[in-house]
């Protein structure tokens, strides 16, 4: 169907080809003005690769590499003639005004600018470079910018170098007050106290700042903040979704594992290894087993219509999440066919499935816990539990057989009832009438036996378990390529192997021994993921650190480093940081530290600053701040907003770890469930004041405080949250139970503990909430409100104060960071 094929031409001569080749070699010497990786490949990937990419070669045309692109298509004409745009069919076709001839055949034509870029690129020799992220990681040289005084560390050199090239300068530093709030929220997710702010504002020296950064990175709250970023990436939730949305017992222990790992600055390489193969390491520990909870966090249908399909959906969940989270690759796109844009084949996909093929299903309806609860109970206790459980299981099986004898004789309604929660009642009340005497006697004796065993169990100390890979298939079935992703359509058998684009040697994997509990493949996968040769893992994680400090990654699509993605704004910086991470033995905190100590991080976020003409110029030239000439302002996340409210009102409980908490939900919210309130519990007042990372994540029931402020969809990896602005946020912040309660308790606290006038109380509240001294206009605004509340609504001072507190907590200054 390709239109290249339709154009017939006999005009090709060997002489011309020779000329082309000559031109090509000459052109290498010239300075290139167009960057293939940044400017050309994205255009080709988006407009051309669906038909002329890694997976398809319509009309004999493929635009992925120099050899293919300069070859003749089926039409006989050269797609690209290096150095000769006018002799390149590609340019002719994208420029064509004829609908029947123009490429791409459907959708919008290329823009004039895109066409110009391609023309220049061909003129300059049509050089193809491998996609930057697929090239081996090399350490770039740190550039030497002209005005070196500004640069505190290599990050600044890279940033300043780019700015200088664009004839821009970095803006001035942020004020001390802005900087300390930024550093606190970015590092630990909660605000600094007013004493800490005052001390820093009084002495904002480099030394004081450095000390503060070190304290923040050492704070146990650091993990509570950064764990949440990781939980977004690994689609963390504590229930299974679907009809029952049942709980995943001990999922919170995985959350605590992540917090602990970040606090301890566990090398990222170990962090990855533990999650992917914590059960297969040379030294397994309770911690590494807890890490395998990673595999158990996804959705799980306990009653799938097509069980085989459901199994492969589970593998897909693991491969998709792992691909995006660790490698920054959308390997999932190759489930049904070769990737359309990136060089990832369907075979690559199933080879990765083969690596994780020993991972059992989350559970089965008969025994939901066996596969996912790793028992950590001491041996003697464990034995007794096992004996009792076996006894109960055996006896209950016998009881069910006896019951079935009676049930089949019951009325349809009763039979139906025995399949639901009414079963016990029906059995108790009616079974006797439908069984003969000896069966009934046996049933009652069984019943008493079970009762006794259960009583003994309740008196035993509780079992200890974690969520993770409790059972694996040491010798899993062969893995096939599945045609169009259909598990019934088995194609070639594949072995575990790494995606071809990495050019890694094929791993040798020993057959699992008879004693093996797992296939031993995941450890090999994990080791490869964090090997020095891996081209993506280090790049992907340093980019995430950058993303959460600066509001966007150097590579904006943090889960997709493939060819479809927008190119990174500072690829050399990203690569330098990635090599730096590896040099630091994969410890993340040194990277955090370097980022936070950079001048880049310490810039003001203001665009229009009268003292800086440069800022005006930069704002005109780079309004979206691609070059980081200033810091980006940001809204706090859902968790940060809730924690900030609790911190301001003095209620925040900074206790770490533990089972999840259940914020109070309005009846209207529970009414959306088929059984209102099911699966939601109560927590003590002090637990409710814990940080938001501890909130129970039930997939079908996300509390409005989180959902309104863009808590991520729980069922697949989230690379970065949306930041919406919508009326539901305003309604919740003004009228929601949480805000109402907080403003009231805060007001009574202020009345009790802050002496002096109303103004003193407002000033105190503003200092707490906004982290600065109240100014005259703040006080004037509140005074005016107070007057109105008093005269128009007849409120006394103490009745008015909760409303004034509510206004302070709703202010943009409270929700946004400079």
């Amino acid at each position: 169907m390709c239109r290249f094929a339709r154009q017939r031409s006999v005009f090709i001569a060997l002489g011309i080809l020779a000329a082309i080749l000559g031109a090509h070699s000459n052109l290498h010497a010239q300075e290139k003005t167009v960057d293939f990786a940044r400017e050309i490949r994205p255009i080709l990937a988006k407009h051309c690769y669906a038909c002329h990419g890694p997976d398809k070669k319509e009309g004999g045309v493929r635009l992925t590499d120099f050899e293919s692109a300069t070859a003749n298509g089926e039409s006989g004409e050269a797609t690209i003639t290096p150095g000769k745009p006018d002799a390149s069919e590609l340019l002719k076709r994208i420029r064509s005004q004829e609908d029947s001839e123009r490429m791409p055949p459907e959708g919008k034509p290329l823009t004039d600018r895109e066409i110009d870029l391609i023309q220049t690129w061909i003129q300059e020799g049509a050089e193809f470079k491998q996609h930057w992220a697929f090239m081996p990681l090399e350490r770039p040289t740190v550039p030497s910018p002209k005005t070196s005084a500004w640069a505190r560390n290599p990050i600044d050199s890279f940033i300043l170098h780019r700015l200088e090239k664009a004839r821009l300068q970095p803006t001035q530093p942020a004020q001390a007050r802005e900087l300390i709030r930024r550093a606190y929220f970015n590092a630990i997710g909660v605000p600094p106290s007013e004493e800490v702010i005052d001390a820093f504002v009084a002495n904002p020296s480099d030394q004081a700042y450095e000390q503060m950064v070190d304290e923040l990175l050492a704070s146990p709250q650091f993990g509570a903040k950064w764990a949440r970023h990781w939980l977004d990436i690994v689609r963390f939730a504590e229930t299974n979704s679907f009809e029952r949305d049942g709980p995943k017992p001990n999922a919170w222990k995985y959350r605590d594992y992540v917090i602990r790992s970040f606090n301890a600055d566990k090398p990222y390489s170990d962090f990855v290894r533990e999650q992917l193969a914590g059960d297969e390491l040379d030294q397994t520990t309770p911690e590494s087993l807890t890490a395998t909870g990673y595999y158990r966090l996804g959705i799980w249908d306990d009653e799938p219509a097509d069980p085989l399909q459901a199994r492969f959906d589970e593998y897909d969940d693991i491969v998709s999440t792992t691909g995006q989270a660790i490698l920054g690759l959308t390997i999932n796109c190759a489930r049904c066919h070769d990737h359309k844009v990136d060089p990832i084949s369907q075979k690559d996909y199933y080879q990765l499935v083969a690596f994780v093929r020993d991972v059992t299903s989350y559970g089965d309806r008969g025994n939901e816990k066996r596969n996912n609860q790793i028992d950590m109970t001491p041996n003697s206790l464990d034995d007794r539990y096992t004996q009792l459980n076996q006894l109960i299981e055996r006896t209950e099986k016998d009881m069910r057989e006896l019951e079935q004898k009676g049930i089949v004789k019951m009325s349809a309604e009763d039979q139906r009832a025995t399949e639901g929660p009414e079963r016990g009642k029906v059995i108790r009340e009616k079974l006797k009438d439908y069984l003969d005497e000896s069966d009934w006697k046996q049933w009652t004796s069984h019943r008493d036996q079970v009762k006794k065993a259960r009583e003994e169990m309740t008196k035993l100390p509780p079992r200890v378990a974690v969520l993770g890979l409790a059972r694996c298939e040491a010798r899993p079935p062969k893995t096939h390529v599945l045609a169009r992703g259909n598990p019934q359509a088995e194609g070639d058998v594949v072995e575990p192997d790494f995606p071809k684009l990495f050019e890694s040697p094929k791993p040798t994997i020993a057959e699992a021994s008879d004693q093996a509990k797992s296939a031993g493949r995941r450890k090999i996968l994990a080791d490869w993921m964090v090997s020095k040769e891996n081209r993506l893992t280090a790049r992907v994680i340093v980019n995430r650190l950058w993303q959460h400090h600066f509001g966007r990654g150097i590579q904006k699509s943090a889960n997709n480093f493939g060819q479809m993605s927008e190119p990174p704004t500072h690829p050399e910086l990203l690569d330098w940081l990635a090599t730096e991470l590896i040099r630091n033995d994969w410890n993340l905190k040194p990277i955090h530290r370097m980022i936070m100590l950079s001048s880049t991080y310490r810039m003001s976020s203001h665009a229009h600053d009268t003292s800086s003409e440069n800022a005006e110029l930069a704002f005109r030239k780079d309004p979206s701040n691609d070059l980081f000439w200033r810091f980006n302002m940001r809204r706090l996340s859902a968790e940060e907003i809730r924690d900030h409210v609790l911190a301001a009102t003095g209620n925040l409980n900074l206790e770490l770890f533990g089972p999840s908490i259940y914020p109070k939900l309005a009846d209207e919210v529970k009414a959306s469930q088929s059984v209102p309130g099911k699966g939601w519990s109560n927590s003590s007042e002090s637990d409710l004041n814990k940080r938001s990372v501890y909130i129970h994540i039930k997939r079908s029931l996300i509390p409005p405080e989180l959902a309104n402020f863009d808590f991520p969809e729980t069922d697949s990896s989230c690379e970065g949250r949306f930041l919406t602005t919508q009326p539901a946020q305003a309604l919740g912040m003004l009228n929601g139970n949480f805000m109402q309660e907080q403003s009231k308790t805060w007001a009574s606290y202020l009345l009790k503990t802050v002496p002096g006038s109303l103004e003193d109380r407002w000033a105190f509240a503003i200092r707490k909430a906004w982290g600065r001294a109240a100014n005259a206009s703040d006080i004037a605004a509140l005074k005016q409100l107070h007057q109105q509340l008093k005269t128009a609504h007849g409120l006394r001072d103490e009745e008015a104060l909760p409303f004034e507190c509510l206004v302070i907590l709703n202010a943009n200054e409270f929700l946004y960071l400079d």
Binding site: M1, K46, E243, D301, H606, S674, N735, G736
Partner: protein, 492 residues
Amino acid sequence: MTHPANSGRDAFCRRTRRQFMWQAGAGFGAVALTDMLSREGFFQGQALAADGVTPYRNPLAAKPPHFAPKAKSVIFLFMYGGPSHIDTFDYKRDMVGMDGKTVTVKTFGRGGHRNQGRIVEPRWKFKQYGECGKWVSDLFPNVGQCVDDIAFLHSMTADSPIHGSAMLMMNSGKILSGAPSIGSWVNYGLGSVNENLPGYVVMLDPSGGPISGAKNWSSGFMPATYQGTILRTKGAPILDLQPPPGVSRELQRDLLNSLKSINDEHQHSRADNSDLAARISSYELAYKMQESAPEVVNFGDESQETLDLYGVNNPKTEDFGRRCLLARRLVERGVRFIQLYSGGNHNDANWDAHGDLEKNHNLHAGATDLPIAGLLRDLKRRGLLDSTLVVWGGEFGRQPTAEYATGSGRDHNAYGFTMWMAGGGIKGGISVGTTDEIGSKAVDKPMHVKHLHATILQQLGLDPNRLSYFFSGLDQKLVGVEHIDPIHEIIA
């Protein structure tokens, strides 16, 4: 799958280049990529809207459709639990007299796969209605009066006969959770013309939500802006809409004035950050919503005759009647997508008739027949039916055979069931597709849930094969990656 509805059409010549590519296995066509590109800036704007540098754009601002729409709004009457098609609209005259007979028939429901079963003869008499002479059972005597406006789809199929995944399929096109529901797709594609009300409204049964709760109206991987908003006919219509008791609207206004002056002061030195301004106006929007939402649920301006038409004054039909009337009022105010659940909770609180079929269906049809007919008539006489697409059906149908040794209960059936559409450019008085003689499976022109979804989008002026959202490296669509045609037979 290839769409059987295509089979009557010219097999090659009328295929577009795109269709050819899809059928040739391209899967991820050029058109999808280019469409993605044109919307890409939009996504980035969304993902970074509050970063202080990306200009704010209201994601719910009205957007032009792909082509001239037939329908402006959709009312989806969701019969949760799965109504029995052979007892309602799929007349099986040959089953009369078969009751109790054991037949060989493949069924798949919550009780698993079976190869034979005891026939439960349809429990209601059928009568002919309208000029088209459609046979409708005594469960729906009032809807029966409207058949000349209705297109019946008798050969619907779905991927799962299990409530959880089947509900997700009917609402989001996928049996796995995490994808946006159809109302979110519509909101994303068209935006909202009334910014004082949510663009996508869901009204639940008083007995509770459907299973999987909020997953059924989730915006999945799209921003929460597009998710369904629960609207209640009693109490505060929307969560946190009303200030707590004792706080008057005037007082709330004063709070907002004060907040605005504080925020204006803050924004003064940050004028380039349009998100700060957007947040200020979102409070004003919330304030307007506080007025609009109670106004829409207040039936004070409806005549007695209208209230009666919906059965609002009869305890049996009051609840669903109120919601149907509210649906019409929302349509009048420009709300795009409205979903009403008949039935909630579990077991016989919805259409899931496993035990006593007669008791169950008499209850639920009794509560909905008059209100649904009232809605259709009222829309029609107000000239709104032409631009309002009404969809009726559950997540699947029910089996022809009994689930238990005794009794009339039927298990789930996703192999064949009936849904219907009316208004919004849909032909009336026609029936498309058939099931076999006992209604066990679709035989003539089997249609998948995706075709239903494609038809809904098509009527709203959205090309179902073009409306896409880039996520997880793929151009995601409500109807999936393969080309899906709308059901042309019923499009006027």
